[in-house]
Amino acid sequence: MKKINLDYTAAAPVEKAIIEKMLPLLTEHYGNPSSGHSLGEMPRKALQEARENVGRLIGADAGNIIFTASASEANNLAVKGFAKANMKKGKHIITSPVEHFSILNQLKTLKKEGFSITELPVDEYGLVHPRDLADAITGETILVTIQAANQEIGTIQPLAELVAVAKESNVVFHTDAAAAVGWIPVDVQKLGIDMLSLAGDQFYGPKGTGALFVKRGVRLTPLVEGGTQEKGLRAGTENVALIAGLGEAARIAAVQLEERAKEAAFFRDKLKESLFSAIPYLHLNGHPEKRVPRNLNISVSFVEGEALLMRLDMAGISVSSGSSCTSQALKSSHVLSAIGVPPELAQGSLQLTAGPGSSVEDIPYITEQLAEVTNILRSMSPLYHQFMKEAKQNA
C-alpha cells in the first residue's frame, strides 16, 4: 500500500546531503570542539559554519546563536532564563493562549514562583492584536513572548507590529518561531526581535536540534550550568554532528525557502479545494490567508479525530488530530479552544501538513479516502443522526 504522509510537522526524512555533513563528525572528525589540540579544529569549524548558516536563515549574526536540543529547550532558556536574570526589573510577562506547551507550561511554573502572567486574547483565527498588547504592558512588564506562527493552525502573527509595540515601552520581545522558520521569511534584525527560538526538524533538519537567537545585551541565566560552551548559556559538550545537520538544513532552507513555500502552498490549496468540494460540513481552522504555506487544519463535523486518524492510517494516510482522544492528557487542542472552535468540532479536527513527498496526484485518493471514512463514521454518529433529523423537520 502506498504511504502518504500528511503529518510532516511531526517528522520529515533527512536528506542525504545533510547526513553527509553529519557523518564525518562522528567518525574521522570526532574531536571535541573545546580541545586545544588539532583534533578539535574540524569540529570547531563545523560549529562555526552551522552557526553562520542558522544565523543567515533568520538575519542574525552567527555569534548570537545558541544551539539547543529543541525549540522547547530554546523556549525554556529564553523565558525562564530571562525571567531569572531580570526579575529585579519586574515580574510581569505577556503571552498568548495559543503558544506551544513549552511556553505555556513554564509560565505556569513562573506564576507559582511569583511572576504575573497575562494571556492576551486572540481572535477567531488565532491572531493577537497589537492594541491588546499595548494595553497589557505595565511598568512591571519585562518580557513579551508571542509565537511567529501557530504549530497547529498555521496562523501567522503580525510580528512587526507586535514588536513595535513592545519596543515603545522598552520591553524585550521573544518569539517562538518553530512553525515559521524555513517557511516564511523571518529576519530578526528587520523585525527588531530580541530572542527567537527555532527547531531544525521543522525545516527538514534532524530531530533533536534547535537554536535560540539572543540579541547582544539581553541577559539570560543558563538552565544548564557547567562549562563555557554556547557562551556559558548551555554547558555540556556540543552535539557537533547534529548541529552540523541543523546548519546544513538551515543553509538549504534559506536557498529553497521560496520554492518550498510555493510548492507546499500549491499542494495545500489544491487539497483544501478538493476536500471541501467533496465532503459536506467541513470547517477551516486558522486564518484563510495569513497561514504557514504547508499547513491545512480542518474540522470534520459530527465525527471524532482519533477514529478518523486510525481509519486513514489503515488507508496509508498519516495525519494528526487535535482531539482529546489522540492526546495522552485526553484534552482537546488548547489552540482550537482558544480561537472559539466548539468542542465537537475540535474533536473532529485534522492537521494536514504538506512536505517533500506531497504530490497533487495523490489528492484524488486522499479525498476519496477521507470522504469514505467520514461517511462510515457519520453513519454511526449520534450527532449526525440528530442533525439530519432536525434538518428534515425544518425542511
Binding site: S324, C325, P343, M380, S381, P382, L383
Partner: protein, 127 residues
C-alpha cells in the same frame, strides 16, 4: 495512536449492530462532545430479554469498539444478566484497553444500563 488489541481493532473496523431502533423500548445516552465520547443505545425487550440492541457512537477507536462489544454481549441476555455486565468484563472481552482509554469501557456499560433502566421505568409507569 494508542496500542490497541487485535480485538479492539476488529470491532473498530467492523462494528456490529450500528444504528438506532425505531420505537425502542429503552434508550440510554451517555457522554458529551467535550470529553470526546458520546453513546446512545436503544433496546427492544421481549419476555424480559434484550431482543434487539443498536447504538450510535461519537468517539475514538476504543469507544466504537466498546459500543460494538457491549451490543454483542447484551444481545439475547435477560435484563438482570445484562445489568450485571461490568466495564471490566467489556475491557476483558476486548483483550484489554490502553490505560487512558479505560473510561470508554465505563461509558459502554453505563449506556446499556441506562437503556435498561429507562425500559424498567417506562414499564413501572404503565402499571
Amino acid at each position: 495512536m494508542p496500542e490497541y488489541s487485535d480485538k479492539v481493532m476488529e470491532h473498530f473496523t467492523k462494528p456490529r449492530n450500528i444504528g438506532e431502533l425505531d420505537n425502542p423500548d429503552g434508550t440510554g445516552e451517555v457522554g458529551n462532545p467535550v470529553c470526546g465520547d458520546m453513546m446512545k443505545f436503544t433496546i427492544k425487550v421481549k419476555d424480559d430479554r434484550i431482543e434487539d440492541i443498536k447504538y450510535l457512537t461519537f468517539g475514538c477507536g476504543a469507544a466504537i469498539a466498546v459500543s460494538s462489544m457491549v451490543s454483542e454481549m447484551a444481545k439475547g441476555k435477560t435484563l438482570d444478566e445484562a445489568m450485571k455486565i461490568t466495564n471490566k468484563q467489556v475491557a476483558e472481552e476486548l483483550e484489554g484497553l490502553p490505560g487512558n482509554k479505560m473510561h470508554c469501557s465505563n461509558l459502554g456499560a453505563d449506556a446499556l444500563h441506562k437503556a435498561i433502566e429507562d425500559y424498567r421505568a417506562k414499564v413501572k409507569a404503565e402499571n
